[in-house]
């Protein structure tokens, strides 16, 4: 099924959680800001939230230094 990730269309498996999707994409599961269809998710919600066709996901993983 198709979703939009950071503005780009992507094919993902059906019945995937956001946590699993991030793992597949090689995104480390810490210091994340994840916006799912306009709403920010807490880190512990990522494992329970399913990805559905047409979902809009914006993901930023922050790295240190300032």
């Amino acid at each position: 099924m198709e979703i939009k990730l950071n503005g780009e269309t992507r094919e993902v498996d059906a019945e995937t959680t956001i946590a699993r999707l991030l793992e597949q994409l090689g995104i480390q599961p810490n210091n994340l800001a994840v916006e799912h269809n306009g709403e920010f998710l807490e880190e512990d919600a990522l494992e329970h939230t399913m990805v559905r066709a047409g979902d809009r996901l914006e993901v930023v993983r922050f790295v240190g230094g300032g």
Partner: protein
């Protein structure tokens, strides 16, 4: 047939257009307008000799160590920054979360730009290891960063209102502290704090634009540090890759590039040049 030369010529004196009698010399101009000036600059060059003015000359009369008056500072900003820019920035209040490498350089850029007010928040003190990239001086080691930066900004532009909070920012207090800011900059070191700030501002101050930073370490190509929108009202500066770590520390060039991108983005936001759907 000769045409009589006009009696008056137009010159600019300290950024203001004035009319003077043809033949007036630099020193006569000084005597008439600023007799205590000890430096005379004409068309960009300091002059010790006395010469007659010419049409279109730009003259600056300076007394060493004299702080420009509020009116002079205002007219300098207005002349430099173009129509309308200063009017908008001087009524703006920008919050800066963290006064390390990013925050200190950002504060300096915004103060020079003439932003109306800056709110500086940090809990830290100036350490010797900060000096490789942070806008502090050797005689400020051991001082609270917010106090040191306030002192520096007072010497750069005394007409910026600088508010300081010596405090540790948390997800719980960020919205309360930055309420009333027209824009906020995230200038932390710790990536978890960067994340917390993003969520706190999006939840508590959803209409306040936030500029965060991620990925500025090392000395790889600085062109990889970009500025882009990531969420509604949240922009990200950085290469989003180069974390600060042993063997790849923070160096002034890339830190200043990132702070400059933050400053420019904030300026554009204050000027209303970034639309709801614009990416940068």
């Amino acid at each position: 047939m000769t045409i009589a030369a006009s009696e008056q010529i137009s010159v600019r004196l300290n950024e203001r257009g004035i009319s003077v009698a043809r033949g007036t010399t630099l020193r006569e101009l000084r005597r008439a307008h600023k007799p205590d000036a000890d430096v005379i600059i004409r068309n960009g060059f300091p002059h010790r000799d006395d010469v007659p003015l010419e049409e279109g000359d730009e003259v600056v009369l300076i007394r060493r160590g004299e702080v420009p008056s509020p009116e002079e500072m205002e007219s300098l900003m207005t002349a430099r920054h173009g129509p309308g820019v200063h009017a908008k920035v001087k009524v703006a209040r920008v919050g800066i979360a963290g006064c390390g490498g990013l925050g200190s350089a950002l504060a300096v850029a915004l103060a020079r730009t003439g932003v109306g007010a800056l709110l500086l928040v940090d809990f830290d003190v100036v350490e010797p290891s900060n000096l490789n990239r942070q806008q502090y001086f050797v005689d400020q080691i051991g001082m609270e960063k917010v106090r040191a930066m306030a002192a520096n900004l007072a010497r750069i532009n005394p007409y910026v209102r600088v508010e300081t909070r010596n405090a540790r920012l948390t997800r719980g207090n960020i919205a309360d502290i930055f309420v009333g800011c027209n824009a906020v900059a995230e200038c932390f070191d710790d990536p978890a704090a960067k994340r917390d700030m993003t969520l706190a501002v999006r939840e508590g101050l959803p209409r306040t634009p936030l500029v965060t930073v991620s990925g500025i370490a090392g000395h790889g190509p600085a062109g990889q540090i970009r500025a882009r929108r990531v969420f509604k009202n949240v922009f990200l500066v950085g290469d989003n890759e180069n974390a600060a770590q042993p063997g790849r520390g923070l160096l002034a060039p890339r830190v200043v590039v990132a702070a400059g991108l933050q400053a420019n983005l904030i300026l554009r936001l204050l000027l209303g040049e970034i639309g709801q759907d614009d990416n940068e």
